[in-house]
Each structure stands twice: as C-alpha cells, then as structure tokens.
Symmetry: C2
Subunit: 238 residues, 2 copies
Amino acid sequence: MTAANGRLIEGLITNLPIFRQAARVHLDEVVRHARAETVSRGAAICRHGERMEGLFAVAYGLVKLALRGDAGDEKVLRLVGPGETFGEAVVFLERPCPVDAIALADSMVVIVPGAVLLALIERDSRFARGMIASLSQRMHALVADVESSALRSGVQRVAAYLESLAEPGAAQAKVRLPATKTVIAARIGVTKETFSRLLRDLADQGLVSVSKRDIVLLDRERLTALVQSSPKPAPSTT
Amino acid sequence: MTAANGRLIEGLITNLPIFRQAARVHLDEVVRHARAETVSRGAAICRHGERMEGLFAVAYGLVKLALRGDAGDEKVLRLVGPGETFGEAVVFLERPCPVDAIALADSMVVIVPGAVLLALIERDSRFARGMIASLSQRMHALVADVESSALRSGVQRVAAYLESLAEPGAAQAKVRLPATKTVIAARIGVTKETFSRLLRDLADQGLVSVSKRDIVLLDRERLTALVQSSPKPAPSTT
DNA sequence: CGATCCCATTGATATAAGTCAACACCTACG
DNA sequence: CGTAGGTGTTGACTTATATCAATGGGATCG
C-alpha cells in the first residue's frame, strides 16, 4: 500500500457516516485493515451469489447495485457514489451477495473486512449504534422504493425521482442524471423506452426541460403535486 | 400489570431472536420496562405517520404491515405472527412510522420502549450484534421481495410464495394461507381477482389443489421450476 | 331463520407498460 | 474519415394485469 493510498483511505473512512461516532483509536484500527482497489468501468466488484469480502466504500466513481432476471432485464436497487457505502447488510450474515455490484465508471473502492467490523462492534458501542442507524436508514429507503413501485404509476415515479435529485426549496432546479438513461430507467422500474416517453410527456406539459442528461425542473410545484395525486381518478372522499 | 402478564412478557422476550444473545441480567431489565397490550381484530397498532413507541413483539394473533396508496389500494409488506417482531428499523431513527400496522386477528403485542433498547446497545455488545443481524436479515428479505415483484410474473410470485410457506424437502406439502386471500394477494403484489385466477391456473395444471385457505402443493418440483424459468421466452444462450 | 356482511370467484373490458424494430446520434478508434 | 458500438428516440403492436360489475357462498347475529 502506498502512503498516498493510506491517506486516501483514512480520509475516506473518517468521513463515512457509519464511522462518524466511533472513537479515534478504533478508526485507526479500521484504517490499518482496510485496503483500496480500483475497478475499471463495466467491471464487476461483486457478483450475485459470490461471497462478500467486507464493507465497501466508494472513494471515487460510481457503482450500480442491481438484480438481474433470467431474461436480460435488470432492476437497479441503488447507485452508490463517492462517500457512500454498500454491503453493510451482507457482511453480518453468512449469506452470499444478493446483488451484482458493477462499476459504471472507473472507480476506487475501499474494502473493510467483516471481521474488523465485528470486532469494532464489541469494543465500541457508539459504532454499533451508528451501524444500526445506518441499516435502519437503508431499510427506510428500500421501503420507500417498494412503496413507489407498488402503488405509483410510471410518470409519478419519474417525477418523484427527479424531485429526489434536487435540493428541496427552490421553485425551479436543474439536475443531472447520475448515469445513462437506460440505467436510470432500470432504477426507477421502467424500460428505457417508456422512460424516454414519460420524460417527453413531462416536457410537453412544460414541467421539465431535457437536454441529454441535464434536466431542468421548470415547475416543481406541479411536479410534486403529480406525485402525490392518485394515479387513478380519485374515489371522492370517503 | 398482572403476574400472569409478567410471565408472558418474560417468556416471549427471552425467546425472541433479537434477544437471544443478550445477557440474562440485561433481559430482566428489558422485561421490567416492557408492557403488553391487546388489540382487537381490525384495530390499528400504529398508523402511517405516527410516532412509534418502541419495538413490537407479537405474543399471539397476527399483524399486517402495509402501505396504502391514495386510491384504496394497499401493498402488504409483511405479516407478523407470534414470536416475531417489527419496528426495529423505526425506533432507532427519529422518523415517523412509514407503514400501517393493523391487527388481522385479536392479538397481543409486547412493546419495548426505544430508550431501553438504546441503553442495551451501550451495555451489551452481543445484543447489538443480534440487532444488527436481525436488521440485516430483514433487509435481505425485503430485497428478495423487490426482486420478486420487479422481475417475476404474477404466477411466478404466487408459486414462490406458496413454496415459501412450505418446509423444504418433501415432494408434496400442504400449506395454509395465514390470512384472507385478499390480504395474501396484496402481499404478493396482485389484486385479489388475479390472485384467484392465477391460483386456478395452477390448479388446472395439476400443480396445486385449493380448498378455502388450505392448499396442497402437488408437484413442488414443477412449482419451483416455474419460479426459476424466465417469464418471457428465454433468449437462447448468449 | 332470514338478513347482512365479508370474502371469493368469474366474466367482460380497459389500459399502462412492455416488446419489437427501425432509425438517429455521438464518440471513439483504427 | 469512415466504421462501429453504445445510447436514445420514436412508432406500431402485444400483453399482462387492473378495473368494473355481477354473483355465490359462508359466516355471524339479532
């Protein structure tokens, strides 16, 4: 491991939400056992069914966590960017990885072996608490996703997703899709074709303006209204 | 609190997976602060948006965790039976409950205040580990659910669900739906009408035999084969 | 014992979203 | 600079599943 690598790992890990509450001494221990790895665009960090080596933190680049069907279709669960982590829920169980982790760009990930985390839980209760909070948040996000795909229509999911990319507050906002439209479509839960059409529909209604991956949310009020209104003609108040 | 209640609470809690690893002394503490509550069929234990009082354990009865859309539709996330718990992911965040928890039968739940759990995490690292493992398992289950509804067809989901109710191994098995078909349908992610039709299809193919809530899995081999085969004509090997 | 409610089934019809296929880009690379 | 591979758009068509509506049990209860 190079010295530069060492500093990079340390900087990344100390700023990770999971380790935020952990004692300094313990963090040094974590850093000592962590190792960095670079993966080039398109390469798999971990494939469905394989054993997970530990917790992964993205230093730079972008990683896609996805499920793949027997046909060619795939469902993207999460896009993991710099400063984010994945694999928490897997290292603590003796089960194989349930998803594919693919680098969407040349990336660097830092790997913290599971054993280190287990030891840390024993020694540092604040870290344990942080890990629990982290897992809980991840669960909430997943539940929100299930809610979205189970009881919202395609347009609504697209609108909600675009909104989620923007900071709340302003009446307008410009956002940039973090990946190709094909990937985003799989994230939202539609095919690339319908995504394209839905995006055009929103543009036709003057709600957004699309140019490549850059999208301007022209009327966020109507956009969020779209999300909350019922997909089907609302059954008058009961 | 009656003495009978006290013993019931103790018996329930000591057998909960989450507390399995915790030290005896700490468990006594938990039991002291827990309280039992009975809810009658149809009543809400906790509604979407409300504050969660703590961790819930079902002593007897059946509880439905569900999301509801603006229209009348709902998605059932989980059916929680005796000896199972819910609310882990909520107590550790300051967020309101994301789901509705409704008793499907006259039930008794034991409530462990969040503060007690937080304290326990500090004192007992084995409990912390148990909680983390529990959350991880819950996540895996959820991911499996997402996988199911995202890239499997209706029949496949039904077949998979029926299989999940049976102990693995035997060539045949008889299972009983834990709730009304309407609820099971919402759990699987189809309407009650399509559930009915799909069930009949399976029966017509000689895969199952249905009589009220009792279902006999006649040919589990073909049933599981159905689940794994691709929903669309498989694109020949590439 | 009839009335009522809830649950399930079935048929007819509607529709959102997927599929198939063609084409237009754009970037990259030899 | 022309060819090629990944990406996105658009159109015509198909289909799984929802929706609407009607009916038939069981239960439960006064």
